[in-house]
Symmetry: none
Subunit: 223 residues, 4 copies
DNA sequence: AATGAATGAGCTTTCATTCAT
DNA sequence: AATGAATGAAAGCTCATTCAT
């Protein structure tokens, strides 16, 4: 096996990356079932024990991947907000688009997000779980504040809350619309028409509606 | 002969019920972790093998429970719609309340719904999975149509779609806000404030907003 | 694999026996290291899971073997006591001989006994450990009482106690004199002369002495 | 140059000591389970690999500790023999007391001694194992001779042998009476009465008896 | 139809030891 | 001489599912 030692911190980070990437690859290849640590090790070209040197449990690997995805998406939106002109009537639409695009590009993010509670958090070190939650909260906070600064109709705190709701909807809708690969060919049935929509298009539709609603309601509350 | 068959069928249904009830009880008792088939069999007073005569896999048991819950909730809302007066300005609010109450009363429904994709559908017979999807679609259709008849501003098909979105949000929000028991005591941290809200209150809040948005947008689209 | 079902109780007992025998064989073959459950299963012609159907932990298997050996030996001595004539001046000597013979015939008993505390009791279900202790105590009691009836010089309770001491010495001496196979060829060194004795002969020698001492002291205490 | 070597040797000895002390501390703290090499290294303030520069295997560390304990105890008794007056009728009793006191003071000695065969000697370099045996033999010899000089009734070689038997009994009795902490609270049961004795008191009792027997028998044999 | 004994792949995890640095 | 990253065999155990009875 690759008995290459990661001595410097950056090498360690690189090896961690190797494991994370291998885990993600297998996760995607295995149609979004959590791969075994054994498989991850093999894919990484490392020994099983080495993986446990970098992550305490299997779930930790995936919680990190999820958190990375979340961070990435948040940063993307943040950039999009900065770039966009809030006076542009298409401001919201642009943001929504960049949001859905970010998610689309991080393959597996949605599946991962969907199993956060039911699977990942179950077998997670207490502190890791908490740290994860805090990071999510932090990102929502920061991004929410940024939004508030651009959309003055949003009251203090409403930005983060709105994002929380958007995120919830994103994950929930995905869970409702997504279905295992093997039954996809049989989804043609007319009865199932309601599920035969393109997820991202649908998501954008609902988001536009909700963001609009948010602004309105918030606005009214102000008056 | 037919008589005997009927009796036999009744017995079958009864035994299925026994298993389902036992599974649900254990699921609730074990704080919403899927119990083992062995435990379900014991709780049912049946042998392990017998359980497999009635359900092809463990997941099938829970998908049936989920579907039953879904049906129950839909029927409840249907009744609520029938009872309510759409001219009453509190019409929407009443519906939303009865919706959240129904869900609250079906303990474990949200957890079950949340694991639908990531866990349940993975190890499910193709036909079972499909049938499940169809039942969900059917209920959404029926209930959607009923809604449309009461809220004329809703276009054809918009009722079902709205319900789909509501359901998605319900499940997604639950996943975001819910957290494992063991980390609940540590949620006091200020950073986590955004997660420290009462789920059902929060849900009602968002739903009110969304339903409102839906009507508006839909209305506008009409004009 | 041998998918032969043990349905009747006697069949179950037989299968348990199969496992116990396989475990003992491996234990002896592997120069008295505890074999893995996996190996025991293979040797038994059973699946690993099946072994766990009959024994909760690996240690339980060996504690049962130890207890069986203990019981066997006690029964043998009991018979020897019954058969012997306490007026015969060689009474004690005969008993000691039958004791050492019993132990010699139960290969591995000593090694097993020697690891009772340091290994076996560590990973043992509380109740199993306790039951084991009770059985040992029970046998000591019974056999002790029998001895007292034959050797009137022994006070009440002194029989069991004497046996406890004899057993302790038996195990302790074995631990001191026994040595791993691989270093046996090098035991010729003169310095090691004290260890180069035949265990059973040595044991008999010490026991004779001790039993004698016991009687004396006890006798004196009486006067 | 020689000077430097001497210093280097001193350092080596010192480092060995550090490791041994750390190992002993952890062993005692962990209620007499063998600690991992990793833990020993950490406790020593050394790297894992460094430990292996000083000891070939983990077991070697503990065999050295056991041997040190043995030496200590022997030296203690030797001193006690020197100090005591063999004409004092309490001579034996005093020796026995100082013996049990020495053992009591070397915490963990008995546990270590008890696992010598079943655990330690298994994974030990041949030479190390042999050296260990030789040291034990040597100590028994020396101490035995000293005893013989004080107790003229002891024939040549009988001293060492007696000590061997005493040591065996000490370890064996400890194994029989000692029990894991977790089952200690449940030892109250009447059946287990025979095990509910104070180890050191019991040991002293048996030893007094045996030593007495030894002298007698030996004496008789002489005549 | 019902049983429950048997299966065995599968899991995570530990840790003594090695060896590149 | 010292380090500690990497190894990987080995372990115990679970449990969904099968199938002989």
């Amino acid at each position: 096996m690759a008995r290459i030692r990661a001595i410097a911190d950056e090498e360690k980070v690189a090896k961690r990356r190797t494991i994370l990437d291998a885990a993600m690859k297998l996760y995607q290849d295995k149609s979004y079932e959590l791969p075994s640590v054994s498989a991850i090790a093999k894919e990484s070209g490392l020994a099983k024990g080495t993986v446990y040197l970098y992550f305490k449990t299997k779930e930790e690997i995936f919680i990190v991947l999820l958190e990375e995805g979340f961070t990435l998406i948040c940063e993307g939106i943040s950039a999009a907000i900065t770039d966009a002109d809030e006076c542009d009537p298409g401001f919201i639409s642009k943001l929504v688009h960049s949001y859905t695009d970010m998610i689309r590009n991080y393959h597996g993010f949605l599946t991962l997000a969907a199993m956060t509670n039911s699977v990942l958090e179950q077998n997670l070190d207490l502190n890791i779980a908490l740290t994860f939650k805090k990071k999510i909260a932090y990102h929502l906070q920061i991004l929410g504040a940024q939004l508030e600064s651009k959309l003055p109709r949003l009251q203090k705190g409403a930005g983060a809350k709105m994002l929380l709701h958007i995120y919830s909807l994103t994950v929930g809708l995905w869970q409702t619309l997504n279905c295992p690969k093997k039954i996809r060919p049989m989804m043609g049935d007319e009865v199932l028409g309601i599920f035969n929509v393109e997820y991202f298009k649908e998501l954008r539709g609902v988001l536009m509606m909700c963001v609009f609603a948010f602004s309105e309601v918030d606005n009214k509350a102000k008056n």
